[in-house]
Symmetry: C2
Subunit: 257 residues, 2 copies
Amino acid sequence: MGRVIAVANQKGGVGKTTTAVNLAASLAAAEKRILLVDVDPQGNASSGLGHPRGETGAPSVYDLLCGEPNLDEVIRKTDLPHLDLIPANGDLAGAEIELVSVAEREWQLRAPLRAAAARYDYVLIDTPPSLGLLTLNALCAADAVLVPLQCEYYALEGLTALQRTIRLVGESLNPGLDIEGIVLCMVDPRQNLTEQVTSEVRSHFEGKVYTTTVPRNVRLSEAPSFGKPILLYDISSKGAKSYLDLAREFLMRQEKS
Amino acid sequence: MGRVIAVANQKGGVGKTTTAVNLAASLAAAEKRILLVDVDPQGNASSGLGHPRGETGAPSVYDLLCGEPNLDEVIRKTDLPHLDLIPANGDLAGAEIELVSVAEREWQLRAPLRAAAARYDYVLIDTPPSLGLLTLNALCAADAVLVPLQCEYYALEGLTALQRTIRLVGESLNPGLDIEGIVLCMVDPRQNLTEQVTSEVRSHFEGKVYTTTVPRNVRLSEAPSFGKPILLYDISSKGAKSYLDLAREFLMRQEKS
Ligand SMILES: Nc1ncnc2c1ncn2[C@@H]1O[C@H](COP(=O)(O)OP(=O)(O)OP(=O)(O)O)[C@@H](O)[C@H]1O
Ligand SMILES: Nc1ncnc2c1ncn2[C@@H]1O[C@H](COP(=O)(O)OP(=O)(O)OP(=O)(O)O)[C@@H](O)[C@H]1O
Ligand SMILES: [Mg+2]
Ligand SMILES: [Mg+2]
C-alpha cells in the first residue's frame, strides 16, 4: 500500500508546485511508481507536466471531489514511465463553494486517493495557497505533509498557522496526520535573511527539516514553460541535482519511519 | 471622494503584499491620505506595518465582513502620519466559509469601504492568493484593480483566469470594474525568462503595464521583519526608490483617468 503525501503551505509562491512536480519526477526516475494529484485550481502542476489545465468538463480531480469518482478516467500518463497525473481543470475554481454544503465535505478525496495508493508507491498532492476546503481535502486524504518553505519573513510567519491546522486535522478529521518534513526552497546562501530563517526553522522543527535544500536556480522556473520537470529539461542544472538529492533523502526517511 | 483600489492576483508570492504596503507608504509620504485594508487571513500587510495579526476577537476587517461595521473601532494608526490600516486577524480564516450562506455575500465590504473612501484619497486592499469570497468582496468594493505580476511562466499562466474574473465581476456585481494597471515585480533583467514574459505582457495588455518596474531587492524582503515599509527601513535602497517611482506614476495615471 503506497503512502499519500500532501505538499502544502498556505503562503503563496514558496515552491509547492515546483517541489511536487520535481520530487515526483525524481522518484519516478528512481523507478518508484508515482501519482501526482493537482488540487490547485491554477493547474500549475498539470501544465508543469505538459497537461495544460483542461477546460471545464474534461476528466479531472474535480470528478473525485464533486462527482462520480472513476480513477481510470482521470489518471493520465506523462513523459516519464513511472509518473502518472490526475490533472486540475477549470471546474476546480468553483469546487470550494460547492463543497461547503456537502456532508463530510473534507473527506471527498480520501477514499479515491487511498484506492489509488494501492497501485502506486507514492501519491503526491499539490495544493493551492490557502487553508480552505481543497487543501483540507488533501490533508484528510494524506498520511503525512511535506512543507516547502521559502526562507523569508512572511513565509516563516505563516508556519505557525499551518502547524496549528495540521495538528487540528491530526486530532480530529485524520488521526495521526503529521508533518513529514520541511524543505527549504529558493535558498540563496548569500542573504543574511536566509541564514536567520534557516537557523530559526532548524531549531524550532528539530529533526523535521531536510538536510537537502533547493537553491534558487533559474532553470527551475524555465522548465514549466516547456511542460517538463527539471530532469527532462536540464539534467545538468543545480535545480535537477537538488531534487534528485531530495528524492534520495525522502526515500531514506520513508524507510526509517 | 477617494478611490478604492484592490491589489489582486490569485498566483501566490508575486508581490501583492509588498506592493500594497510600499505603494501605500510611498503615497502617504507624498501627503496623500491612505487607508490600507488587509483582507488576507495570513495578515502579512498588517505585520508589514508593525501590527502583527491580532488574536481572534480583536477589532479587524472581519468585523466589516461578518459583523457590525464600525470604522472608528477597526482603523489603526501606523508609523506614517497619512497612512492608516484596517488589520486582519485570526477570525478571517473562517470568514470565507461563513460568508457562503450570507445573502449578498460578495457585497459585505463595499458599503464600509466606500464610507471610508470619503475620508481618504485612496483606499488600498491587499488580497489573499485566491479568487474566493474574500477576494471577490475586495473586487466588489473597488473602483479598479492593481495587478502585481512576477515575470515567470506560472504567474503568466494565471493572468488569463484573473482577467476573466475581473471582467465577470465588471459585467455583473460591480459594473465598470477594470484593471487599473499591471506592475512587474521582482524583475531580474539578467534572466531570459523575464525578457520573454515582459514583452509578452506589454504586447497583450497594451497601455496597462506600468513603466516603473520593481527590481528583485533583498532589502524589500528584510523590511517586514522589522514591521516597517521599505522607505522607513532603508530609504536609499533600490526597492525604496522603485516604490517611490511607482507612487509618482500611479498618481500621474490617476490624474489622467
Ligand atoms: N528553487 C527555485 N529557483 C528559482 N525559481 C523557483 C524555484 N522554485 C520555484 N521557483 C519559481 O518561483 C515561482 C513560485 O514557485 P511555485 O509556483 O512552485 O510556488 P507555489 O508555492 O506552488 O505557488 P502557489 O502558492 O501560487 O501555488 C514559480 O514561478 C517557480 O517557477
Ligand atoms: N522586489 C522584491 N525583491 C525581493 N523580494 C521580494 C520582492 N517583492 C516581494 N519580495 C519577497 O517575496 C516574497 C513574496 O512577496 P509577497 O509576500 O509580497 O507576495 P504576495 O503576492 O503578497 O504573496 P501571497 O500570495 O502569499 O499573498 C516575500 O517574502 C517578500 O518579502
Ligand atoms: Mg503552486
Ligand atoms: Mg500577500
